[in-house]
């Protein structure tokens, strides 16, 4: 569920096709995001999942899997 919802957000934020987005995809290496795109993506994730991700945690989110795990562990 989280993955499906996240895929839509990533596709929209990074302007990539949904089927390009795999669990192991790295935002910067595979999905062509730069560091600011990732910051913006994290902001979108915070809004969509009603989370507040502290900077030091956000820095560790580099792949789709990192994001899914963070969201699953912290969803309210």
């Amino acid at each position: 569920m989280v993955f499906e919802k996240l895929k839509k957000i990533i596709a929209e934020q990074l302007e990539v096709e949904e089927d390009e987005i795999k669990m192991e995809s790295s935002f910067q290496d595979d999905l062509d995001a730069d560091s600011l795109d990732v910051v913006e993506l994290i902001m979108a994730i915070e809004d969509e999942f009603d989370l507040e991700i502290p900077d030091e945690e956000a820095e560790k989110i580099k792949t789709v899997k990192d994001a899914v795990e963070y969201i699953q562990n912290n969803m309210k």
Binding site: D34, L36, V39, E40, M43
Partner: protein, 247 residues
Amino acid sequence: MNLNGKIALITGGSRGIGKAIALKLASLGANIVVNYTKSDAKAKEVIKLAEEMGVRAIAVKADVSNKDDVENFINKVLDEFGRIDILVNNAGITRDNLLMRMKEEEWDDVININLKGTFNVTKTAIRSMIKQKSGSIINVASVIGITGNQGQCNYAASKAGIIGFTKSIAKEVAKKKVRVNAVAPGFINTDMTDKLPDKVKEEYLTKIPLNRLGEPEDIANAVAFLASDLSSYITGQVLIVDGGLLI
């Protein structure tokens, strides 16, 4: 030039240059948020004047050098208006002294309010601008940040720091269509410069080609230009407003 419906936030907006900026932006149709630290009465006065121009205006007390204060402040703005279009980092102080006499506290106070305050507010407010993919940030620097001044090493360092900060953030967020510029006022008639002895003022006057001290409105006009779409191709710049002092 019009700023109809824009949300503009001005730190240190209850008096001096900040007040002139707040009222100028309000006169162009922007809703304004006036941040202040000391005088409730002065902030309320600015709010009243802005409301008379037909815009929405609120005052929020917050110490820009305090991260928690700034977060509460920005949250209040977002609760009230939902977005931020224009941010003017104007809050600033002086604690003049010769280096050999300068206390650590005098150094820290100036750096914390002028430079760290600019960092705190920009970092917290820029989120809204990045999301909406538009925004204009104007940092109030000073010609002193370019030339230096004896007795003002803390102030000069803070203002030079603001210039470096401005250029860096301009590069970081240009892709998101957020512009970041600075204005560098010269000698402006405010409480801050009022403290100086007449002799110093007269000496300055001889060095200003336009042969007058600047008024807060001179700075407000430059800020309004940088806040508006008329400057949509300008970012990372330092606009010197000094009557020609630095020529």
